[in-house]
């Protein structure tokens, strides 16, 4: 893939736009562009996945398998989002399955090469991991909001006393 075009893409993509020019350049050297047609799988839950992805266009759904319920979609991701951070952190075993919900264009960074780059160049490593940490923190907050079940209808509160309904007079 043309290095210049990739550099441009990395400059525009929200995940990488705030990195320094040199960081982007080095990442650009190890990254490639790829296309996942609708319905194709980026990685499977429980399996290995050597790649860290950044979505440029399209949509990816993350599913977790619940015995008895089948695959449950827990999150959808779009342009600017990272997918497959388990390739960098942890045992490399994926916690979700990722499927392209539309024709999706991604930037592919082999996890091993990213980690080698970070180890050999701590400045770039720090910048990159900082971005990963921020994205994970953001995802954690969003997950907590999902967990709060804010839109859940509380069960109707009916009281036996005349007119003494709590809050409705």
């Amino acid at each position: 893939m043309d290095g210049l075009r990739l550099g441009e893409i990395l400059r525009e993509l929200s995940f990488t736009s705030s990195l320094s020019d040199s960081a982007r350049a080095r990442i650009g050297e190890i990254a490639t562009l790829a296309c996942f047609p609708v319905g194709s799988v980026l990685f499977r839950e429980g399996g290995g996945n050597p790649n860290f992805f950044l979505i440029r266009e399209g949509r990816v759904g993350l599913d977790m398998n619940v015995p008895g319920r089948g695959p449950v979609r827990i999150l959808t991701l779009g342009p600017g989002d990272m997918v497959g951070w388990s390739a960098l952190i942890g045992s490399g075993e994926m916690t979700t399955s990722a499927m392209a919900l539309e024709n999706t264009e991604v930037i592919v960074c082999p996890g091993k090469k990213l980690m080698e780059l970070s180890a050999s160049n701590h400045e770039i490593g720090y910048q990159f991991m900082n971005r990963v940490a921020m994205a994970l923190a953001h995802r954690l907050t969003s997950t907590r909001l999902q967990l709060l079940d804010l839109f859940e209808d509380p069960p109707p509160v009916l009281s036996a006393m005349r007119g003494e309904s709590r809050g409705e007079r």
Binding site: R59, G61, G70, V72, R73, I74, L75, T76, G78, P79, G80, D81, L101, H138, T141, S142, L145, Q146, L148, D149, L150, F151, E152, D153, P154, P156, V157, L158, S159, G163, S165, R166, G167, E168, R169
Partner: protein, 287 residues
């Protein structure tokens, strides 16, 4: 000596509701229905006007009274729709009464969404759950005055696909130039749309014209606060953001004390507020 306070005839008893009939009931999603109310007295119908964002007090004699936002076209002339979730005694009674029953309605009360002052700008409407109901009149207004606004976007988050309101109207809204993106907290097995909180839709929204955007948010308070944060991360200022707040309301005219948040009476200074006016008070727990 104290001067005579203004005479009685100039100030009718604000407690007296107008009799209205539930003309039609449309079940929306489990425990939520839209009730179309018609005034018994047609002269009242002729005079009644409301602005998007305002609410009525809906009264069931012998049971109680609840504040419900109007969720209908502001150009309504005959019936006025209110989307109501059954949550307590009075809303339960309304659900049980159903079409044909006579109840009471007084209003409209409260402040409205800033449709006049946002003309010429882009509207970004963000709704969560039943919070879409008080924003629906805005969409009607936009459809009737589309040329007054630039880009109009609705970001809507619901718990699950089967609790999304007004799904059968989204085609019409889209055709009238409202861009719609939806998301759910919990997907069903056949849902192919977005999954995740509605703030993620805001983070990903493309080609946002920050300077000319007016943001109107309605939903649970936690959701509104996080949406505001996501908006500020995109560069939108507090004075471009409007929220609709909720508190215990009984008199609706600022005289019973229940609906206070700091110095504001929500029934009178709200429920629609520009965010910079209420931000410091919303930040304090239990205020």
């Amino acid at each position: 000596m104290t001067e005579q306070l203004t005479t009685q005839s100039e100030h009718p008893n604000y407690w007296v509701p107008h009799p209205v009939v539930i003309e039609k009931v449309r079940q929306e999603v489990p425990r939520v229905a839209t009730y179309e109310l018609a005034f018994v007295d047609s002269a009242t119908a002729g005079d009644y006007r409301f602005a998007p964002g305002q609410f009525n007090m809906i009264y069931v004699p012998g049971v109680g009274e609840v504040p419900i936002s109007l969720s209908t076209d502001p150009n309504s002339r005959r019936t006025w729709a209110h989307t109501i979730r059954t949550a307590g005694n009075t809303t339960h009674a309304i659900e049980q009464l159903g079409a044909g029953a006579m109840i009471g309605m007084r209003g409209p009360y409260g402040t409205a969404w800033p449709l006049e002052s946002s003309a010429g700008g882009d509207l970004l409407l963000i709704a969560g759950g039943i919070g879409l109901a008080p924003l629906r009149p805005v969409i009607y207004h936009v459809m009737a005055h589309r040329a007054n606004f630039g880009r109009v976007t609705l970001l809507y988050g619901a718990r699950s696909p089967d609790t999304m309101l007004y799904r059968d109207e989204s085609d019409l809204w889209s055709r009238c130039g409202v861009e719609i993106e939806t998301t759910v907290d919990r997907a069903s097995s056949d849902w192919q749309g977005n999954v995740g909180v509605v703030t993620l839709l805001l983070a990903r929204l493309r080609e946002l014209r920050i300077q000319r955007t007016v943001l109107m948010i309605c939903g649970p308070e936690v959701m509104m606060r996080h949406t505001v944060k996501a908006a500020c991360d995109r560069g939108i200022q507090h004075d471009q953001i409007w929220v609709s707040l909720e508190r215990n309301m009984q008199c609706a005219v600022g005289l019973c004390g229940h609906c206070q948040l700091g110095p504001s009476f929500l029934c009178h200074d709200g429920p629609v507020f520009r965010y910079d006016a209420v931000a410091p008070f919303m930040a304090i727990e239990g205020l």
